[in-house]
């Protein structure tokens, strides 16, 4: 199923990927729920940023945009919201060089630290995490690379 999904991504992207093997991320859903999802909610899921349905990488949940409009504002995260957020985050882990080089890992950090560029800088031109030692960033990195599993 995961390979099928990957094939779909490759085909639809129109990129000329050399046939070979690709490291499929083993992204633990439970670790995501426990340590990654709260960070994404706090640091990324703003309406004008990744709490926006127009974004591919989107995160929904309590106090933010809800996946189902009938969900009350502060009701706990629904399984669907969690699944949506997990699926989108997991999709961001695919990289030929492995999840440690993926957009999920590189987007939120400065270019000087190996970042991949992030359009949504803060008001002072900084990206989401100014340091790779930021505890929130470490939670994302560890999940992405399997370090917390």
């Amino acid at each position: 199923m995961r390979f099928a999904g990957l094939l779909l991504v490759v085909v639809t992207s129109g990129c000329s990927v050399t046939p070979g093997t690709l490291d499929i991320p083993n992204a633990n859903p439970q670790v995501f729920e426990d340590t990654v999802y709260p960070v994404l909610l706090a640091d990324c899921a703003f309406n004008a940023c990744h709490g926006n349905r127009d974004r591919f990488f989107s995160v929904f949940g309590p106090g933010r945009e809800r996946l189902d409009p009938n969900t009350a504002e502060y009701d706990p995260v629904t399984p669907y919201e969690l699944a949506h957020s997990y699926t989108r985050a997991e999709s961001m882990l695919y990289d030929e060089e492995g999840p440690g080089f993926s957009l999920f890992v590189r987007k939120p950090i400065p270019l000087a630290l190996g970042g991949a560029g992030h359009k949504g800088d803060d008001l002072y031109g900084g990206t989401v995490y100014s340091s790779i030692d930021d505890p929130h960033y470490l939670a994302l990195y560890r999940w992405a690379t399997g370090g917390a599993q």
Binding site: N47, G63, R64, R66, Y74, A83, T87, K119, L123, G126
Partner: protein, 230 residues
């Protein structure tokens, strides 16, 4: 379970929500809170109200001019007010310095708040102004209950101050979409105007230019012997 996940991906969200209780900013993100973010737009914060609220008409606040220069150890009052108290507006404000050290900041005691700083603009209204300490930062907030003025005292440290203000004019639909936003950050004494970038860029009008203009007009009047009508 797989089917549920696929369904989740296909579902399109259709609504967004806004914080309605000041305490929500401090609550954990998993509970729907800000996770400690107050969206003042300060250097320590990074983001302002416009990270979530967007799409509505710009809303305007007026910041009364401060003396220039600020004398270290002297207490000053920063007054922010807005012209349409009939429309509930929320506001978050933070004063810091360019060196990162925060000046001592305070607001009047609840019993001493003027009517304009109370809900419904009433002398008997509940206090609309509150302060929250986050580490060494002090966040000043105004609830969207009909107040039209906030007065903040600070003691100058000798370093220029940075004032960050984020305000929201809610459209009443309970979501963050369609809300007017005021976003401003200025340094005092002024050096140069900062501009907002990225996803948090606001739709508000900078108050730096009018503040400087007001100060210049005020000085000119003093020099020409006219009454200062500020």
């Amino acid at each position: 379970m797989k089917l549920a996940w696929i369904s989740a991906v296909l579902l399109a969200p259709a609504s967004a929500f806004a914080f309605s209780d000041p305490a929500t900013f401090a609550d954990t993100a998993i509970n729907g809170g800000g996770g400690g973010r107050y969206f003042t737009g300060s250097r320590a914060e990074g983001y302002s109200c416009s990270a979530c609220h967007q799409g509505g008409p710009s809303t305007h606040f007026v910041v009364d001019p401060l003396p220039n220069p600020l004398v270290a150890g002297t207490q000053y009052k920063l007054v922010v007010h807005w012209t349409d108290p009939t429309t509930p507006q929320a506001l978050q404000l933070e004063i810091s310095t360019t060196t990162g050290a925060n000046p001592t900041v305070s607001i009047p005691a609840a019993t001493a708040l003027p009517a304009e700083s109370r809900c419904d603009g009433s002398p008997t209204g509940l206090p609309a102004v509150y302060s929250v300490d986050v580490g060494t930062r002090r966040i000043i907030g105004v609830e969207d209950c009909g107040a039209s003025r906030v007065e903040v005292s600070f003691v100058a440290t000798g370093d220029p101050i940075e004032v960050s203000i984020g305000g929201v004019l809610g459209n009443g639909d309970g979501t963050a979409n369609g809300d007017g936003v005021f976003d401003d950050r200025f340094r005092w004494p002024p050096l140069r105007q900062q501009s907002a970038t990225g996803c948090s860029s606001g739709g508000g009008t900078s108050l730096l230019v009018p503040a400087v203009a007001l100060l210049l007009v005020s000085r000119r009047r003093r020099r020409s012997g006219q009454l200062d009508t500020k």
